[in-house]
């Protein structure tokens, strides 16, 4: 169990602390400040720190530290899940980018939340929708206050992610399929690793307690449904996890995804696809070091998606040696310049059409160094976004909404593929 939760700012001062057990004290914050925050170690050290038999498990939001202290042998995954849930709850109340001052201005609210989400060191009710019902001091608009009778039923009911009696004039569902491609290509051009992690996010504005059925072009399902001749290729999903509203027993039995959705935004599922990844960009680099003072880099980038689409926010970082003094850059698209603080040529292309090819050629002049040290050649890093494209090939086949009243639902689907770690070694 958790003995204390504290929130510290960048200087290590306690902003909020709630003590659940007697075995630790606020003084512990000092040792955390000295050993973790002041040591500037927080980014490279593991998120679990043991100081004199007291374990500190911490995570960060902006520049604040959310720290859980414990003296017992806890389940660390549980503690982190709690801390993240806590931050999620605070985001719901104070806005996505809540910061120190909004924390301080709302600290009575935060105390309320601290007490409601945890009692004597054990997580209690952490579902935002239910908390909103009876803690409504912050930015959350106070909803019509339900009768106390009904309220406690909600607080502890089996479906704690949705309350009854929600009403919308227009029933709408927004579905976002967000994918991030991770790619690592060796200097010899072999794909070392290619993988897509995706998530399906929903924003539901639905009346009542609707039952939803959701379908992707999952290979296993498609093979089962289509017989013989007209077989559409499905995507082989390696593994997936779901929001807790999804009936897992049903999924295991026949891979249908059915659920009663929470109101508003939530993450329905996450999945992972390893095989047959459509890589949106192909990069062909060529680096030549000529003696100690010259180096030339040529890079060809080919967009591998349909002409109808285009990529946005493309940033390609081509690393150069630290002792670069002059650079001559020629490029066909966008803007490229040498940014010494990043030790890289940064090439930005706002809009990259599908099937297009771009070239970048760089001639570098290097300063002679007293002690020549081999250039470590970090990888070329690419960032991009391709709207309406999925690298895994996943697409939404259907979303059916059933409700007693049988209303009509508008559904909107968006796809975005982003670069996770998209790297090419040179």
């Amino acid at each position: 169990m958790i003995s204390m939760i504290m929130v510290l700012n960048q200087k290590g001062e306690i902003m909020i602390s709630r003590q659940y057990r007697d075995d630790v004290s606020r003084v512990a914050a000092d040792s955390f400040r000295i050993q973790v925050i002041a040591a500037k170690e927080a980014s490279s050290q593991p998120p679990i720190k043991r100081i004199e038999n007291c374990s500190f498990l911490y995570t960060r939001h902006l520049n604040m530290y959310f720290v859980a202290l414990t003296k017992s042998n806890v389940n660390p995954a549980l503690v982190f899940e709690y801390l993240f849930q806590k931050i999620r709850v605070l985001k719901a109340y104070l806005g996505e980018e809540f910061d120190e001052s909004s924390m301080r201005n709302n600290m009575t609210l935060i105390y309320e939340l601290m007490d409601e989400t945890m009692d004597f060191g054990y997580p209690q009710n952490c579902a935002v929708d239910v908390l909103r019902l009876y803690i409504n001091l912050g930015n959350v608009k106070p909803q019509d206050e339900p009768e106390p009778e009904q309220l406690t039923k909600q607080i502890t009911g089996a479906i704690d992610w949705r309350r009854e009696g929600i009403r919308y004039k227009k029933n709408e569902v927004y579905i976002d399929v967000l994918e991030s491609v991770n790619l690592l290509i060796s200097s010899s051009g072999n794909i070392l690793r290619s993988e897509v992690t995706g998530k399906v996010q929903m924003n539901t504005k639905l009346t009542g307690m609707p039952e939803c059925k959701f379908g992707l072009n999952d290979k296993l399902v498609i093979e089962k449904e289509s017989t013989g001749a007209r077989k559409k290729p499905g995507v082989e999903i390696d593994d997936c996890t779901f929001h807790r509203c999804v009936r897992l027993g049903k999924f295991d039995a026949d891979r249908t995804i059915t659920f009663i959705p929470p109101d508003g935004e939530f993450e329905l599922m996450r999945y992972r696809v390893n095989d047959n990844v459509n890589l949106p960009f192909r990069l062909i680099p060529a680096v030549q070091e000529e003696g100690q003072t010259k180096c030339s880099i040529n890079l060809k980038v080919i967009a591998n998606f349909s002409e109808k689409l285009f990529a946005t926010h493309v940033v390609i970082k081509v690393p150069v040696p630290k002792n670069t003094s002059k650079s001559k850059i020629k490029n066909s698209f966008g803007r490229a310049k040498y940014e010494p603080e990043q030790n890289a040529i940064v090439w930005r292309i706002k809009r990259f059409p599908g099937k297009a090819e771009c070239m970048l050629s760089v001639d570098l002049e290097l300063v002679r160094t007293v002690r020549p040290k081999a250039w470590v050649r970090p990888p070329i890093n690419v960032e991009f976004q391709v709207p309406m494209f999925t690298a895994s090939g996943v697409h939404v086949r259907f979303l059916r909404v059933y409700d007693k009243s049988g209303y009509h639902t508008n559904r909107w689907v968006r796809y975005i593929t982003k670069a996770g770690g998209y790297q090419v070694r040179i």
Partner: protein
């Protein structure tokens, strides 16, 4: 100017003169921005001002202004300013209908009760009264505040409201009450024993609300910590498992944590529990997933066959089962690692590491998942690289080694070191297949010459030293550059390793004695004891290889080292060698093999706790009073061959059975109803105090007088399309499904049906997809004992099943 501020806040003499911004920040909170609404400078005067404000509280009409006053008090409290002087005023504000104000007063109360017990006692009456408020929210809050006062003398006031709360009509109050019991337990154990809440808590495990049950489990576990956690019997365990889908995200963990302490009554029950928990692996909560893994492993431990066990030779062994478990959980674990936040990834990587130790080889094909990403934080990179080394097998080793060599030259020194070490460990464990040891040794030798990156060359030397100990035959590969490398490797550990290597490879390096001689002659310049010790060891080793050349310098070295007083160890060691050599030059070196299998087993027992993260046992870092040793409950019902099979109701199965209920013909025999009805309905004695009430589920699989009929490899023309289709088709023949599933290569069905005479048949059907074939195991139970007749029935059954499966 200064008059606008209360004079208590005048700058100290000698401080900066009072000016527009000359107010020094108060001690204890440097750099507090001045524009923040509640955190402006604290002054004693302000506390007095607050008192004035509070006095107007009673007459204040505006709800928001009332709240603002309260917020100010709480803000001061958070800053660590003592506002306990306002206690009396705050107590007057407790009589309010505004919940927000009430909560703030309670918070204030809990914070200062310990330091002002007598004042706190004054307000207990109000709290006790609030415990009887009509609003359940207020009742809950008051109860929580009352129990959080942490005043031993208050016990007498708390136990009554507590008892009442446990019977409250609202789950919120009950759940708070249950936690209150725990608080009381920690406050005063004797009083607590007198109150005898334990039985009530056990009864409340049947509470219709899952959050109350969750708290009961948590509280009981803590109260009973001395006897190894909450007492657990089969009825309780099954009751909880059957309701597991009702529990909240965090509540489910409390149930899952109980499973490892439960020993399943028999093998089937163990497997049923695993089937039931399987869906949990798909939840997004990493804590629940890992807890499920732990539960699976412990069931495998209990169910699997051990050597020397006289069970059925076909039943799987513990190790086999554990492997199967790890295979099952591999994909979910990898997904979580790839998609979670850094903190969770770190924790999960540690778990994966431990699972790899448990079942080497299983994660091998996922090795690309453990490639380092440029954006990973350092500690995750380190964990990944350590794991990568363990995933090497002859197929993957070349890729892994080349990936590791990419990491050697990164900016992060530690990373480079770990990469070198990981590479060496592949060679040391010989997991890379034929030729791998040699090629890794060559790579390491190349690294010796990487003068630009001193830490890598030093680490390479250390790795080579360990490699030579394991594979002495590689000395020829590595010997050439050693004398050269000794000149530019400066790090003590690397230098010591090189000197050791020179001793070991002495027969293939011609100049070895002369290189060492130079080092010996400059002995006075060596500061590091490790290097000195290595030098001593290497020279002795070389002496046995080439005595005439080394004898003299060994003598000089022994003289120097025995005179050296900087290290006791070195001195003793030198004397030891000296005496050993004097008696007879034939030392036998004892080799100690590092064996940590015991530690690993202990860690596995504590899987899913901080132990895994720190890689040491709980005793080593948890204070005695916090140390809980959960013990397994003895299987007080040995139930070996004739007991009833556990009536676990899988939600999935439940659904299917419901569908049957709608579709089935009217003269269906009883069994279908048995499955669809919840095994423990609310009226039934849930805790199993009357065992005779145990429901009649499908009959037990193990029956002594019945023999199983096994039919294997029946040729099939087609494979079934889906489990649903087969089940509904079987349903028309009155053959019912207990469980079914589709695997990549096969379908599995567990079926049962009843014959006219009342006997049962239990059927396990496995349909291979390619080539289409069918294997059946049919066990008759009860009913007619006439063999021929039974055989006839079974033949009929086989035909029916074949038809249903798509013939």
């Amino acid at each position: 100017m200064a008059s606008t501020y209360p004079n208590t806040n005048m700058p100290v003499p000698g401080g900066p003169p009072p000016g527009t911004n000359g107010i020094p920040p108060p001690p204890g909170q440097p750099g507090q921005p001045r524009d923040e609404s509640y955190f402006t400078e604290s002054r004693k005067g302000e506390v007095n001002e607050l008192r004035q404000l509070l006095r107007t509280f009673g007459t204040e009409k505006d709800r928001n202004r009332k709240r603002d006053i309260m917020k100010k008090v709480i803000a001061y409290m958070t800053l660590g300013i003592d506002v306990s002087r306002l206690f009396t005023e705050m107590m007057l504000a407790i009589e309010t209908r505004d919940l927000v104000v009430k909560k703030m007063v309670y918070l204030f109360l809990c914070n200062y009760a310990e330091t002002h017990p007598d004042l706190a006692q004054m307000c207990t009456n109000t709290l006790v009264k609030d415990c009887g408020n009509e609003d359940p929210m207020v009742r809950g809050l008051a109860l929580r505040a009352l129990c959080s006062l942490r005043l031993p003398q208050m016990i007498e006031y708390t136990s009554e409201p507590l008892r009442k709360s446990l019977q409250d009509g609202h789950a919120y109050v009950r759940k708070t009450g249950v936690m209150g019991i725990l608080k009381m337990y920690h406050l005063n154990k004797e009083e607590f024993d007198k109150a005898s809440f334990n039985d009530i808590l056990y009864d409340m495990l049947r509470d219709p609300d899952s959050s109350v049950v969750t708290n009961c489990i948590l509280v009981l576990n803590e109260i009973m910590a001395d006897s190894g956690g909450m007492a657990l019997n089969r009825a309780v365990m099954l009751h909880l498992l059957n309701r597991i889908h009702e529990f909240s995200e965090f509540g489910i963990l409390s149930v899952l944590d109980l499973v490892p302490r439960y020993i399943p009554a028999n093998d089937e029950e163990g497997f049923q529990i695993m089937n039931l928990l399987d869906p949990v692996l798909r939840t997004a909560n990493a804590g629940a997933v890992v807890a499920t893994i732990r539960a699976f492993l412990s069931i495998a431990d209990a169910v699997g066959k051990r050597p020397g066990d006289d069970r059925d030779p076909d039943s799987p062994t513990v190790d086999d089962l554990k492997r199967q478990v790890v295979v099952r959980i591999k994909a979910p674990l990898v997904t979580l690692i790839a998609s979670s936040s850094n903190e969770l990834s770190y924790v999960l990587l540690k778990y994966a590491d431990q699972l790899i130790d448990l079942c080497p080889g299983i994660f091998d094909d996922e090795y690309r998942q453990f490639y380092v990403r440029f954006s990973d934080p350092t500690h995750i990179k380190h964990s990944k690289v350590r794991i990568l080394a363990k995933l090497a097998n002859p197929q993957t080793a070349p890729d892994i080694v080349s990936e590791l060599s990419e990491l050697i030259a990164t900016v992060d020194d530690t990373m480079g070191r770990i990469a070198v070490r990981s590479m060496a460990s592949i060679a040391i464990h010989d997991s890379g297949g034929e030729g791998a040891v040699e090629s890794i040794a060559r790579r390491l030798v190349e690294m010796l010459d990487l003068q630009g990156i001193p830490h890598v060359s030093s680490e390479a030397a250390v790795s080579l030293a360990s490699l030579v100990r394991r594979h002495p035959n590689i000395t020829t590969v590595i010997s050439a550059p050693l004398p050269r490398a000794l000149k530019y490797i400066t790090e003590p550990s690397g230098k010591a390793a090189l000197i050791f290597l020179l001793g070991e490879c002495g027969d293939s390096i011609v100049e070895a004695p002369y290189v060492l001689e130079k080092v010996i002659d400059s002995y006075e310049n060596i500061t590091d004891t490790g290097v000195k010790t290595a030098l001593l060891g290497a020279t002795v080793a070389l002496f046995f290889k080439r005595p005439p050349e080394v004898q003299l310098m060994l003598g000089r070295l022994l003289k120097k080292t025995t005179d050296d007083v900087s290290s006791q160890d070195l001195h003793d060691r030198a004397l030891f060698y000296y005496r050993l050599l004097r008696s007879s030059p034939d030392p036998t070196l004892a080799k100690a093999i590092d064996d940590d299998s015991e530690l690993r087993a202990a860690l596995m027992n504590e899987f899913n706790t901080l132990c895994t993260i720190y890689r040491c046992r709980a005793e080593n870092f948890i204070d005695e009073e916090n140390l809980v040793k959960f013990v397994k409950m003895p299987p007080e019902h040995p139930l070996p061959r004739d007991g009833n099979v556990a009536p676990i109701v899988d939600p999935g199965v439940n659904n299917l059975a419901d569908q049957f209920g709608n579709a089935s013909v009217t003269d269906v025999p009883a069994p279908a109803a048995v499955i669809s009805a919840p095994a423990y309905s609310a009226e039934v004695d849930l805790l199993g105090f009357g065992d005779d009430l145990a429901p009649s589920g499908p009959p037990p699989l193990s029956d002594t007088n019945a023999e199983a009929v096994v039919v294997s490899a029946l040729q099939m023309r087609t494979t079934p399309t889906s489990t649903d289709a087969v089940e509904s088709s079987l349903g028309t023949f009155h053959i019912f499904t207990m469980a079914s599933g589709e695997l990549p290569t096969e379908f599995k069905f567990f079926l049962y049906c009843q014959e006219e005479g009342g006997g049962y048949f239990l059927i396990q059907a496995v349909a291979q997809k390619a080539p289409p074939s069918l294997a059946l195991t049919i066990k008759p139970h009860g009913g007619d004992n006439d063999r021929n007749k039974r055989r006839e029935m079974i033949d009929q059954l086989i035909e029916l099943i074949k038809t249903s499966l798509g013939e």
